[in-house]
Amino acid sequence: MTLLDAIPTLSTLASGGAEHFAYHVAEAGPKWMALVPGLPLLGAVICLAMLLFKRDMGGRSRVPAYLVTALLGISFVVTLIGFLQWNHGQPWVVHAFEWINVAWGSGAGQSLQANASFYMDGLSWLWMLFVTGLGAAICLYASEYMANDKGYARFFSAFALFVVSMSCLVMGDNLVMLYLGWEGVGLCSYLLIGYFYTKPSAVAAAKKAFIVNRIGDLGLALGLYLTFTTFGTVQYDELFAMVSAGVDGSGHSLAGTWQATWIPLLLMIGAFGKSAQFPLYVWLPDAMEGPTPVSALIHAATMVTAGVYLIARMYPLFLMDEALTALHVVAYVGTFTAFLAATIGMAQFDIKRIMAYSTLSQLGYMFAGLGVLTTNGAAYHVFTHAFFKATLFLACGAVMHGFAGQLDLRKLSGLWNMKGWRIVSVAMLVGCLNLSGIPVITAGFWSKDMIIAEAFTTPNQVIAGSSLIGWVLLITAGMTAYYTFRVFFRVFVGPVEFEPGDEAHGHGDDDDHGHGGDDHGHAGHDAHGHGDGHFHPHAPGWAINFVLAALAIGSTVAILPNFMGDHGWVGGLLHDSTAFYQSGFGHHEAPAGEHALANSKMEVVPVAAHSAPAHGAPSHDSAPDAHAAGEVHANSFLGMNAHAVMYYVSTLFGLAGLAFAAYLHGPVGAWSFGIGNRTKAAVSRADGWKRAIGPIGRWAEHKWYVDEFYDLILRTPLRVIAHIFHAFDKLIIDGALVDGAGLLPRLLGRTLRPMQSGVLHGYATGMAAGIGIIVLIVLVMTLS
């Protein structure tokens, strides 16, 4: 706050013009909010200690799982209590302890203060609620899934540490805390992808994830540094006060400065890395090498949405730029990623990979949503996606667990009709319906529609080509429905057929797993029969079933927030956060009066926008004077109100994809509405279609050879350069310099060595000759 006092004009603006900006002065929050990251940290430390002091009974002790589950559960309850006590509107700043506080001068920008403090506004609450909630649920699931693995304590230690880092990222009240959490989740992601460290592919995937993320993190680090040099602070409340006032740290206007363009662009690169957007997406599909609970929590529900969080949190900075350059890139890249990942997802056979590509695709939707100025749609999609994608992954994990690592959809069929697999199948169905955006009954439908409709609503003058973005997203929605139900139709319904995978449980040792049976709730005869050539899949136990059921219900209940309040519960939360942006181009369902009220109170006007006609002023009756700056009308969908018709249009696309999947992959009978004809696990109509479309199917199956392309343009040149440097090192540094310097004494030695002949007479002759020479010298000197 010292900085604010130092600049009188700024504080005047911040308080005086408050009703025009989303900036709210923060109030102090209760200290016990520090328990949210504190409890998982305690869990991580205890698990690590158990591992170090060998108290985990070689992985057989269940204490780490239940301890971490309980601590995460308490963490969730604390978050919930905090949220219920939170007074909507004013963010909380909870000061835990002083962390970094240095000053090298008394002027503005000559000090750096970054405390271990938490900034709780609508955005933080939303993220923290699902991070801790899903974290606890998935931790319970993992307690069964990871059972009897030697690294049990190691797994839960890293798992808890992940939640700590994620809390730090989301709750931190300054950019340094965000960065700490950002790198922390990256580290935990690395540790957990490479959890099966004896498996070369897992180690390679972990390295790939870490290295690709470094590229993004470079952008983030530069962005944060530029933010600091521009504003002289990294604390959110000071930062956003300045951004709302449209000034930088020394009181100069930000309009048209290069910083206004480059800060968002750099932050965006960081977001692309963490949220796996093109071209930095290649690490996420490979990250599926990690245990499935990790894929569900980190690589689907929470960590990969950190990029969305970053952009939403920094939205005022993204709006600083008159031309919205960064948001254009975000929109295009998100849309392209959504489409590209969907095409790859359609051609994969590994169900976990399909889910990974669908995660990429859905993240693309979120970025597209941020790009077309609907933070509400993006955040709501993050929220619903967290639930249904976790459900899908955990269902896939249950399949993998039960069928000895089998993930090939050609080798599994009819799980619905197998004993003990009904809950998994129903959860999978719920997840698939949500991901496909099946109308009305699924949360995924509402959140996806919000983004697509907004893409059509946002005027092309503001985000160039937003209608095109809308169309691509619509087509992608159809493709999503197709590949999602391709999995469901092939694996979960149809004739009962299965072929076990080549590992036990998809992980580590299977020595006595299932023998006792009672600890899992499944009977002893489910024990593996690899040896006698007869395989019994073991159905999931209570923990997996319970979590799947809870998440399936959660995915469905996630519809409700859409109907709470004017813009949904999530919209209400975002309204009380820095991510708030009222586009002013749409939302035609809202009654005019409410809308006008909303606008007069909470309009975020891009700081630099007063001179930008494109989006300078919202076209609203409530602000007639604003029309002078220029008028922009909301776009429409083929001449119709996009928000009104989008429900029907996207329904059409979703159902078309579903029907296509049913026709190509559906089994004979009612499950595929009578249009499917599949009678075997491995054979379907799609095989003929794949032949018909020629090499395209094969290209998509090979992920469009993007990895190979990167290999060619990045790794190969790097390897060539490395070889050149290696040769230089060998020949020039080692050869010419080091060995060259050593050559001189060696040559000298070689010249002088014959003198040391070992022959006594040689020495004697030398001595005598020496005496003779001395005598001669003396004589000559005496004579002359």
């Binding site: 002088l752 006594l760 005598a768």
Partner: protein, 123 residues
């Protein structure tokens, strides 16, 4: 010839001694004998390969030096040189005992007295 050179420059008395036929034996005669002994020692040491002969040659060099010392001592009427020669003879006797013992040991090793046999300490 060498002695001529030496004599003509360094000592006029030598001319008298040589020109006067078999005159009195002067210091220069002693020195000449000492020099011849020393030179023979050096030549013997360099030319022969038998360890014992080589050892004998060193003894000869010793005695040449000792003779020169005694001659100078007598010439200057100073007994220091004579005392010193007695010490040298003592050391030489001790050294002779040691050296002969070494030669015996070396002989036992190689069954030969050839100095060329011992050249393993080469660079």
């Amino acid at each position: 010839m060498l002695i001529n050179l030496l004599a003509s420059h360094a000592a006029p008395q030598l001319h008298a001694a040589i020109e006067g036929g078999l005159g009195a034996i002067t210091l220069y005669h002693y020195l000449f004998v000492a020099m011849v002994m020393f030179a023979l020692g050096v030549i013997g040491f360099l030319a022969r390969r038998n360890l014992i002969i080589m050892f004998l040659s060193t003894e000869l060099m010793f005695q040449g030096a000792g003779l020169a010392l005694i001659a100078f001592s007598r010439y200057h009427f100073n007994h220091t040189g004579e005392v010193f020669v007695i010490f040298v003879l003592t050391v030489a006797a001790a050294e002779a005992a040691l050296a002969l013992a070494l030669v015996v040991l070396l002989f036992r090793q190689r069954e030969s007295l050839d100095a060329q046999e011992w050249s393993s300490l080469q660079g």
